[in-house]
């Protein structure tokens, strides 16, 4: 029922912080993330770039991965963070997921994905540095279009980062958002870690 309301009025939904849905008269043209929405519809036509070396980019013709291919038919846990090589992201957020990877696998999760508004080469170097590349799939949202389509973009110019994203996590089954958590501030790390979402799966 809630999903149908969303599909009819994708441009006029307001979500509260607790994730419940309220219809409103907003004229926003992007959908927000909330439990029940279809992430493939919300991020329609958007692609991400899988973390890769330049040579891998050349040999794949700099191919991108559509949001549909990432989520359709799969159980995915995805988390987004403000920036590669920054403090909380490197020291807390990624390790929280990499050290719990067996628990995600035990719950039947097909992939754990980390996404940030960085290019795929920086994401690749960072993933290697964190020795997390073989357990987490890192993707770059280089122009911010994925986060913008989900209204998860955040201007972090004050931190000299420019347009980036919120810190968030979601559990998505066949494209449908089953659980969604977003921090009150991007520097916080209270609700978007692995321990929280493991309880929600």
């Amino acid at each position: 029922m809630a999903t149908n309301i969303l599909r009819r009025a994708a441009s006029s939904v307001i979500t509260s912080k607790t994730g419940s849905l309220l219809t409103g008269t907003s004229r926003r043209s992007y959908a927000s993330v909330a439990v029940g929405i279809d992430i493939v519809s919300a991020a329609h036509g958007v692609s991400l770039q899988k973390a890769r070396s330049w040579d891998e980019g050349v040999s794949s013709n700099f191919s991108t991965t559509s949001v549909k291919d990432i989520f359709k038919g799969k159980k995915v846990v995805i988390f987004g963070l403000p920036g590669a090589y920054t403090g909380v992201c490197s020291q807390q957020h990624v390790p929280s997921y990499s050290k719990n990877i067996d628990k995600f696998k035990a719950k039947g999760i097909d992939s754990v994905i980390c996404v940030a508004v960085n290019d795929p080469y920086v994401m690749n170097a960072w993933a290697c540095k964190l020795t997390a590349k073989d357990v987490i799939d890192f993707y770059g949202d280089f122009d911010g279009s994925f986060h913008k389509s989900l209204e998860l973009g955040k201007d972090l110019s004050a931190a000299l980062l420019g347009p980036r994203s919120q810190r968030w996590s979601a559990y998505v089954v066949d494209g449908k958002v089953k659980a969604f958590n977003v921090e009150g501030a991007p520097s916080d790390f209270k609700v978007s870690g692995a321990e929280v979402i493991l309880e929600q799966i």
Partner: protein, 162 residues
């Protein structure tokens, strides 16, 4: 904006980096170059091969020689944020002289007229590869590639201009 050329005055602008207390800060290009002989070289992207394996190492290796010819500062800029630039700089532990500064919003690259659209490669707006020799804010040499090639912008090439 037309690309910067010999005879031009180097525009001012803010670049970012981390200070001695490891806090992000902005630094003006003029504050680093007024009254001095500086080399500024630009790269399309941190952690990409030509930049990492050829362009930067060339300047690190030649830093001593460049300094003995009166160069006061050797500055590497890229359209990346300062966190990424710092992490990339840390992959060159032997480096003592090259400063890695971030032009995260591409504003300074735009002021130099050297922007390059690399969206197709997943990079967005970046900088052409280049090397400038600047003396007291006057551009004395401007070796600019048309894209990311590496034919005229090396440390060896700029040494010839000194």
């Amino acid at each position: 904006m037309a690309p910067i050329a010999v005879g031009d005055t180097l525009p001012d602008g803010n670049l970012s980096c981390f200070d001695a207390e490891d806090k992000p800060q902005q630094v003006s290009v003029h504050s680093l170059s007024a009254g001095k002989k500086v080399i500024i070289f630009g790269v399309p992207g941190a952690f990409t091969p030509t930049c990492s394996l050829k362009h930067v190492p060339g300047f690190i290796e030649r830093a001593g020689e460049l300094k003995s010819k009166g160069v006061d500062e050797i500055i590497c800029i890229s359209v990346n944020d300062p966190f990424v630039m710092k992490a990339w700089a840390n992959t060159y532990p032997e480096n003592k002289d090259v400063k890695f500064l971030a032009d995260g919003s591409a504003t300074y690259t735009h002021a130099l007229g050297l922007e390059l659209d690399l969206s197709e490669k997943g990079l967005g707006t970046r900088s052409r590869r280049f090397a400038l020799l600047v003396e007291d804010l006057k551009v004395k040499a401007a070796n600019i590639e048309s894209g990311g090639e590496f034919t005229v912008s090396s440390a060896d090439d700029i040494l010839k201009a000194l």
